[in-house]
C-alpha cells in the first residue's frame, strides 16, 4: 500500500506490543507531517521507547501498521536505514574512541551525508574533536549522539529522551540545537517525560500513559482543553475553610497538595485578591503564595490524577 500522502513522514495505526505481562503499547495511532517536530510525552513506562523503537525497525510489533517515509520495514528495511537518524535512549558510545573517530565510524555506515567534521559543527562540538568519548560531560555525549544521528543526512530524526539526566544548562543547549534542526526543515519524532521540553520543542504532542494516547494536539490546545488558565499555590498559618474559596467566581477547584493548597483558576487578577480577602475574613496569615500558568504537567494531572515525574 502506498502512503496516503507524501507529506506524511510517519504513519502509525493501531499499533500493539506486549511483553510477557505488560501491554507496553496498546493500540495507538498518530501521524507525523514532514517538517514538524512531534512529541510523545508521558511518564516512565508509558510505552514511548517501545513505540519509537518499533518505528525504528528495532522491535517487531505484535500488530498494527507502521509506515515510515511511505515505506515498510518488512520490505524496505535497507532503504529505510539509510534515511533515518536515530538516537537511542541509553546508548553509551565507545569510551576509548575520540569524538571524531566515533563520527568517522558512523559516517562509514551511510551512503551519503555530511563529513564527520561538519556533523560536529552542527552540534557545536568542534573543539572536542580529539577528546576521548569517555571524558565528555553528559551533555557533550548527548550532542555526540545527535551528531551520530545526523551523519547520514536523515529525512526523519528519532530522538528518545534526548535530555534525560542532563543539568538545566546542558538541556537548554540541546533544545537550541533541536530548534536549529527544525529551522533546517528536519522532521523529528521526540519522546520525553519533561513537559517543558515538549512545550518548547514540539508543534504537536501526544500524551501517552499505560501504552495508550490519552490526549493529543498542540501544546496550546491541550492546555486550553482542561479549562484552567492558572494555578495558584498558597499556604497559611492555621486551618483554612476551603468551602468559601471553592465557590468564589473563577475558581475551578481547590485542594490540599502536600503542605500547601492548590487552586485552579481562570483569571488571576480577580481570584488572587478574592483569596487574600477571604483569608483575611478567616483571620489567617498568608505565609506563601505562588502562581503559574497552566502547563502540560497540569494537563497530565487533570487527565490522570498523577504527576508526570514521581518525585
Amino acid at each position: 500500500m502506498p502512503s496516503a500522502s507524501p507529506r506524511v513522514a510517519l504513519r502509525v495505526d493501531n499499533l500493539k506490543k506486549a511483553y510477557r505481562d505488560v501491554q507496553a503499547v496498546d493500540g495507538i495511532h498518530f501521524e507525523l507531517v514532514a517538517g514538524e517536530c512531534f512529541g510523545l510525552l508521558g511518564p516512565n513506562g508509558a510505552g514511548k521507547t517501545t513505540t519509537i523503537e518499533i518505528c525504528e525497525g528495532l522491535t517487531p510489533a505484535d500488530s498494527g501498521v507502521v509506515e515510515v517515509l511511505g515505506l515498510r520495514w518488512e520490505t524496505d528495511a535497507k532503504e529505510l536505514r539509510q534515511r533515518l537518524g536515530i538516537q537511542l535512549q541509553e546508548t553509551q558510545l565507545a569510551e576509548k574512541l575520540t569524538v571524531l573517530e566515533t563520527l568517522e565510524l558512523f559516517r562509514s555506515f551511510f551512503r551519503e551525508g555530511p563529513l564527520p567534521a561538519e556533523a560536529l559543527a552542527l552540534v557545536q562540538l568542534d573543539e572536542k574533536r580529539h577528546a576521548r568519548v569517555g571524558g565528555l560531560s553528559g551533555g557533550q555525549k548527548q550532542r555526540l549522539a545527535l551528531a551520530c544521528a545526523l551523519v547520514g543526512n536523515p529525512d526523519l530524526l528519532f530522538l528518545d529522551e534526548p535530555t534525560t539526566g542532563l543539568d538545566p544548562q546542558a538541556r537548554r543547549q540541546l533544545w537550541d540545537l533541536i530548534q536549529q534542526f527544525k529551522r533546517d526543515g528536519r522532521t523529528i519524532l521526540l519522546t520525553t517525560h519533561y513537559m517543558d521540553e515538549a512545550q518548547q520543542l514540539c508543534e504537536r504532542i501526544a500524551i501517552m500513559d499505560h501504552g495508550r494516547i490519552i490526549a493529543r494536539g498542540t501544546p496550546r490546545e491541550l492546555i486550553d482543553s482542561i479549562g484552567i488558565e492558572h494555578i495558584v499555590e498558597f499556604s497559611t498559618a492555621g486551618d483554612v475553610d476551603l468551602a468559601p474559596i471553592r465557590t468564589m467566581a473563577g475558581v475551578k477547584d481547590v485542594h490540599p497538595a502536600g503542605g500547601f493548597f492548590e487552586m485552579q483558576v481562570t483569571e488571576l487578577h480577580t481570584c488572587v485578591p478574592a483569596l487574600v480577602g477571604e483569608l483575611g475574613r478567616q483571620k489567617l496569615a498568608l505565609t506563601e503564595l505562588r502562581t503559574h500558568s497552566a502547563t502540560l504537567e497540569d494537563v497530565f494531572v487533570a487527565l490522570t490524577g498523577r504527576h508526570l515525574r514521581d518525585e
Partner: protein, 345 residues
C-alpha cells in the same frame, strides 16, 4: 584511494576493535607481555643445564663418608629430625639412614621420579664403594638436542594457550560490552550489514596474530634457541586456523550473555578444562588412557599438538590432518550455533 579505503565500514569497525584494544593497557599486558614473562620465568626455572648433582641427606657418618666418594652426590649430614623436616619441605628428596644388619635404608617418596633417580644414584655409589663389580660394561653417549627440553615443550603450549585466551577473551568481552552499552543495538540501527560487525572481530584477531604468536616464538628462539622446524608458514597457518576456531567459540560463548559477569563465568568454564587437560604445561599423556580420546578431541589439544609437532619435529600440515580436522569441526559447529543463538540487542 586511501580515503575510500578508510571510509569502508569494515575498516572503521576493525579500527574500533584495534583502538579499544590498544588503548587498554591491561589488555595489551595480558595478551602480549604476560606470556613472555611466563615463558622467561619458567624457562629459567627449568633450564636444561649440566645435570645437577643429586642432594642426599645422610644421618650416619660412616655412610656419609662412603657416599662422598661419588662426585655426582652432594651429601649433607643431618640429624634424623633435620632430615625429616628437609624431606617434608621438599628441600631434599632422599634420606639415607643406617639400616638393618649394618646396611642402609632409603627414605623417599616413590611417586616422585626425581626421588627415585636419587635413590638409584645413591644405591649405585654405596654398592660400588662396598665392592660390587658390574658384570656388563656400559658406556654413556650424551646427546643434548634442542627440541627436547622443557622450554621447547613449553613455548608451543604457551602459543596455543595465548591464541585461545586472546580469541575467547577478546571476542567475549568486546561483544558483551557492546551489547551491554547498547552500542551494538545502535550500530545495527544503521545501514551497516551485520556480517561486517562480526567480520571486524575476525579481522582484528588476524591482524594481532603475528604479534601474539610472533612474540613468544621469537622470544623462545632468541633466549632459548627453541626451534621452528616446520617453518613459519606452517606455524602461521596453524595459528590462523586456531584463532578462527577459538573466535567462533568466543562468539558462541558471547552469543546471548548480557553482563560481563555472566560471560566471564562462561569463558572460564569453557577454558579451564583445556588449560589443565590440553597439555599446556605438562604432557596430556599423563592422564589415563580412558580419557585420552576425549582430550584429543578438545580444540586446544588439537592446536597445541599440531604446533608442537610442527615446531619441534617439523611434521607437515598434511600429516597433521587429525588435528586440523578437529579444529575445523569445532570452527564450523561453533559458528553455526553462534549464528543461531546470537542476540543483537
Amino acid at each position: 584511494m586511501s580515503d575510500g579505503f578508510r571510509s569502508h565500514p569494515l575498516v572503521q569497525l576493525t579500527l574500533l576493535r584495534l583502538r579499544e584494544f590498544l588503548r587498554e593497557p591491561e589488555a595489551v599486558f595480558w595478551a602480549l607481555i604476560f606470556p613472555i614473562l611466563l615463558a622467561g620465568g619458567l624457562g629459567i626455572a627449568f633450564r636444561g643445564e649440566a645435570p645437577e648433582v643429586v642432594r642426599v641427606a645422610v644421618t650416619d657418618d660412616a655412610i656419609a663418608a662412603t657416599l662422598r666418594q661419588d662426585p655426582v652426590l652432594d651429601v649433607v649430614a643431618m640429624t634424623p629430625d633435620e632430615a625429616a623436616r628437609a624431606l617434608r619441605s621438599g628441600r631434599i628428596l632422599l634420606v639415607v639412614e643406617p639400616g638393618a644388619d649394618g646396611g642402609a635404608a632409603y627414605r623417599y617418596d616413590d611417586t616422585n621420579p626425581e626421588a627415585r633417580a636419587a635413590r638409584a644414584a645413591a644405591n649405585q655409589a654405596l654398592q660400588v664403594a662396598s665392592g660390587r663389580v658390574d658384570p656388563v660394561r656400559v658406556d654413556d653417549v650424551i646427546t643434548r638436542e634442542t627440541g627436547a627440553r622443557y622450554i621447547d615443550f613449553l613455548i608451543p603450549g604457551l602459543v596455543g594457550m595465548g591464541i585461545m585466551g586472546n580469541a575467547i577473551w577478546g571476542l567475549g568481552f568486546s561483544i558483551v560490552d557492546a551489547r551491554r552499552r547498547k552500542l551494538m543495538k545502535r550500530i545495527i540501527a544503521t545501514p551497516m550489514p551485520r556480517h561486517l560487525f562480526l567480520g571486524s572481530f575476525l579481522a582484528w584477531r588476524v591482524l594481532l596474530l603475528p604479534v601474539e604468536v610472533g612474540v613468544p616464538v621469537l622470544f623462545g628462539r632468541v633466549a632459548f634457541d627453541v626451534p621452528v622446524r616446520g617453518g613459519m608458514i606452517d606455524l602461521a597457518l596453524l595459528a590462523m586456523l586456531g584463532s578462527m576456531t577459538f573466535s567462533a567459540i568466543g562468539l558462541l560463548i558471547a552469543s546471548r550473555a548480557k553482563t560481563i559477569e555472566a560471560v566471564s563465568g562462561l569463558m572460564n568454564f569453557v577454558m579451564m578444562p583445556m588449560w589443565i587437560l590440553s597439555g599446556v604445561f605438562f604432557s596430556a599423556d599423563r592422564f589415563p588412557d580412558a580419557v585420552q580420546p576425549l582430550i584429543r578431541a578438545l580444540p586446544l589439544s588439537a592446536l597445541i599438538d599440531a604446533i608442537r609437532a610442527s615446531m619441534l619435529q617439523g611434521i607437515t600440515l598434511v600429516a597433521l590432518w587429525p588435528q586440523v580436522l578437529t579444529m575445523i569441526a569445532w570452527l564450523v559447529v561453533s559458528f553455526i550455533a553462534a549464528m543461531w543463538l546470537f542476540r543483537w540487542r
